[in-house]
Symmetry: none
Subunit: 216 residues, 4 copies
DNA sequence: CATGAATGAGTCTTCATTCAT
DNA sequence: TATGAATGAAGACTCATTCAT
């Protein structure tokens, strides 16, 4: 079953089985890498992973669960990236790095990111089993903790207005998701690399200014 | 046919027919007013409008065209709202009003707004007939003109950094769309009205700060 | 109603109405002039005739009846053509003329001919009202009389084997219809005019030979 | 997939699957065995084959592909029948056998034959995938080779006029198809068996005479 | 009479999921 | 465990015919 990672694979068979799970996710991701990713079928994923369709269901109880695993994997990576940031710089610089790391990951893992965004839709979450709903809640809390501590430092230093966490984060989150939607909804091949870099630079600047500019 | 609005309905029959078109759109909108709106079928719309399925297709050549009409109607309303803003105030105040009007309309017409957002997806636009693609392009230009002139005034007055239109608008647009996604993806009934007002206030403040804070 | 021709149109209104019937048929025929003629809808016919769809049903009680009228019109023309043949020539020459006239008409009136062939299908005839079934029977008899008399002359002169009418006619009819199918099923624009003439010449020769060659 | 015949079914499952394909075709054919065969739906075929509708689409990618497979199967049988003819007899006798075999097969496999005729329609061929268009071209060539060699022998022996292949074959083909149309378009149950045999005898005689009678 | 809006049964096709082997 | 054949509920769209005005 999905997330067998929690158990220790011992035998060769079990190791193979565990590896298989990642292969399915990778296959899915390679197919999700375009704007019509929602049209991708379980058949196609199985074909791409070079396994039978039934096998997919041995690992994931539904297509939605595949989405969930991808989203969770993405959030883990994002958190891991945040952990790599040097927190001993000025807070505005830390936030700039947070934003840069985010954009970089979102663009490097577009398929992941697309799915993650989809997984926030209310109708999706409703369908989801409680187990996964909880996992998403956990992730949410981790983010809150991760970004929250940075913001608190900023508040203490007087760089960031003294506001509740949600007031501070909500604009950043909104801009971020909106920006990614805009990038995805444009045929990427049409935009030159330069334009994309510029886009990110401008957006990042705007985000930092927006964050700092909230009246205390 | 859709957008018969361009012709003047003279006879009773024509008036009825024109009204029917709006009834279909209204029926659709009432069904679209929840996060799983994409699951709504043409049959359901017809049932809701209390007409036959075939009749729907007398007015709209496809389900996509229904979406397009809704989106265009929404954009018209938004532009109309912008026209009502008093431009003789300080630019930052004008922008605040733009943002407030936008949020108000988006929240009053959530179904419209949802569809409008959907209609920006690359895969949707691709399927669309050239006629409608052009209409959307027109709308885009109207917005650019409308907001552009405000920003220019701001630049002249030194309130807004001297930057190309797209640099200035992109953050606002991203935040706006992201914010709406966040609102829709939360089961609205869970948020109290207060929370929503607060949400908008905070976001608006952030947006204005972000806009102003771009380095010239 | 269809075939109002049997009544004498007196008033202007009645004359207009009668003319309208032919206009509908002409509109239909102009649309039937291609291999996918079966896809043509009543809407399209009405549009082409520049009248309302309902009006079509004032003249013809069903789409099938339109087909029937076209087929009958065609058969009338064919019979009229046969009447113009000089019967004072050697019988084989008369038959050659019959065949030539037939091919000429079929090619000049391809849409008519297509419909006529369709109207021979058992499932079509079954759906047809008795009135029209009778009309088709009448036409059949007229043909039998027309060709029959030629063949009888030939038999008397010993040019054509002494065989029942149906034995003699069946091959000709089969070849004719098969040949027309072949012509229609080939994109006409692909065949040069020369090829078509050659085709007809060869087929005609074959038909005469086949007719004569039956053992008495 | 359709035409899995090219692969050797090894396992039981594969054998079952291959058999299923034939069962679908058989079910289709049993429903096609009447003049309104074009009205038969995929649902009906599935019901007749006692399988789900989806299963049909596991074997055939479209209804048209079902038609194509039936037509190809039929052509194969026809060619196989031709191969069984003893070519060491006088050419006119060989041709008579060819004609007889054809009529026999067409009458034994009326549903097949109906579909085959349909599959020659230009609008059908256009819709068809290149793969199947090629298969039909192949079949065409096989026929040309098969009949062509007989005719050449006849020309060498001076029994058949020295004419290009297409001049010789076109009349036969036309008569054949026309004759079959006539048979199908008559409610078969109305004709006694005797009449049909007679029909074939007469037509065959006519065809041979027509072929021989072309002027060199 | 002329009209064209309304109808809704009917068509093909898709796809997540199940289950026997 | 791995497989992939089977399923059948949907879904978008068409079109001959009717009927109120």
């Amino acid at each position: 079953m999905a997330n067998g990672r929690s158990m220790q694979p011992i035998t060769r068979k079990e190791r193979d089985f565990a590896r298989r799970e990642q292969e399915i996710l990778d296959a899915a991701l390679s197919l999700f890498n375009n704007p019509s990713w929602e049209q991708v079928t379980v058949d196609q994923i199985a074909k791409e992973a070079e396994i039978g369709k039934g096998t997919v269901y041995k690992h994931f109880s539904s297509k939605d669960e595949i989405y969930a695993c991808i989203a969770l994997e993405f959030h883990e990576r994002l958190l891991a990236n945040f952990k790599m940031i040097n927190h001993d710089q000025p807070v505005d610089q830390v936030m700039r790095e947070v934003i840069r790391h985010s954009f970089t990951l979102y663009l490097d893992c577009q398929a992941h990111a697309r799915v993650s965004l989809y997984c926030k839709r209310a109708d999706y979450v409703e369908r989801l089993s409680e187990v996964y709903q909880d996992k998403f809640d956990q992730v949410e809390k981790s983010f809150e903790a991760s970004i929250g501590s940075i913001l608190e430092t900023g508040i203490e230093q007087g760089v960031i207005p003294k506001r509740p966490y949600h007031h501070l984060i909500i604009g950043l989150e909104a801009t971020f998701e909106g920006a990614m939607s805009m990038i995805w909804n444009t045929d990427i091949s049409c935009r030159s690399q330069l334009e994309q870099d510029e886009f990110i630079t401008v957006i990042s600047e705007y985000m930092v200014a927006g964050l700092m500019g909230l009246r205390a």
